[in-house]
Symmetry: C2
Subunit: 218 residues, 2 copies
């Protein structure tokens, strides 16, 4: 999953086109610094540029009414899924899930040091809560493979249906390709190492192969 955290809409659209024909299994995560350049329009332009999944990483964390509004705007613009925070509570998560318009992926723990202060102590409860509601996916930090392992096991025991795990933090934030998938994650998220490289498509394919090789090696 390639994090589109650049702030230049034309290069984002070009990269979406390139990824569509890249060799591997890719998805696009549209970050807010990009979305804020044009609003929802960039989600639609990326949607039109490629067939691979497009996720709006809105880190939605508002009251239920506004959280659902934000998610709905993203879905209607063409997003296949949205990322929201779980810590805002069960009612907010449920309101977005109840839209029934696309995947809901909830943040459980994050990659930065601050994540251990308030998120890590409640993350097991968050897993239980979102499993009960039935979200489609969760976010766990590739920078802490031992947390991915522990929480993916808990997720498996709590969820009645399949819930996928996406893990940011690969490369620029210090995780190595494969660290997260060999600990239980389903997708690794790579941003700067791809969109800032001279040839994003080549970089994406190379990192994808590294991840697959690690997965086969374990």
């Amino acid at each position: 999953m390639v994090a589109f955290d650049m702030e230049d809409p034309p290069s984002a659209v070009r990269m979406a086109e390139e990824l569509g024909s890249a060799d591997g299994n890719f998805a696009i995560k549209v970050g807010r610094p990009l979305e804020m350049q044009t609003g929802k329009e960039i989600i639609s332009r990326i949607r039109d540029a490629t067939d691979i999944p497009v996720i709006y990483d809105g880190k939605i964390a508002d009251i239920p009414y506004v959280s659902a509004k934000i998610a709905e705007i993203a879905y209607d613009a063409g997003a296949d899924g949205v990322i929201m925070h779980a810590f805002v509570g069960a009612d907010a998560v449920r309101e977005v899930v109840d839209l029934g318009k696309g995947d809901v992926i909830t943040v459980i723990e994050m990659t930065h040091p601050g994540s251990v202060e308030y998120l890590e102590p409640i993350s097991e409860r968050l897993i239980q809560m979102v499993s009960g509601i039935g979200v489609d996916g969760v976010v766990l930090p590739a920078t802490r493979p031992e947390r991915v392992k522990r929480l993916s096991e808990l997720l498996e025991s709590e969820s009645e249906s399949e819930t996928y795990i996406i893990s940011p933090g690969v490369h620029a934030q210090g995780a190595k390709p494969g660290d997260a998938v060999t600990s239980g994650a389903d997708y690794e998220i790579v941003g700067r190492a791809i969109y800032r490289s001279e040839n994003p498509k080549d970089s994406a394919e190379r990192i994808y192969r590294e991840i697959i090789d690690r997965l086969r090696g374990d």
Copy 2:
């Protein structure tokens, strides 16, 4: 503080112009459902339409690097302040404060039922953390005046400088005008009761007077 949670940019700009000449002390809070229509441009258009303060209610809740990016885009577009979550940790809050580009207002507790699940148990620690960093303002729920009272007292004892309190939840979410300011808040946030009314300027002035009357009566 009027919450601009509508999704129609032209009516938002018109309302910004009207509020600029309204009788009272007003500010504008730009919500994400509005921002997502055009991206940062709507912040600039509202900024150009009025002289009163414009706050971007981004509910920013990302890793430090991305949180600062989002805040910077909003400040550069003309926002006087941004709203971010405190629970993402001290490093994220500090990175936005260190931009030094405008006010930083951190969410401590919210108005909806889900806020009591994970935010309320840590809110006193969040107050201590953001007081230590030196944010400009905090968000406390007008729907729970007893929480505003308790946390405003804690804020006063912890903060070395003046930290203002803004409180959403008035009218549509059940709080009465004046509930929060008589409990220690500095600004009350009103959304639907103003932007959905037939004459938003009249409604804003009327609710403003109600708040002032409550404050004088106590």
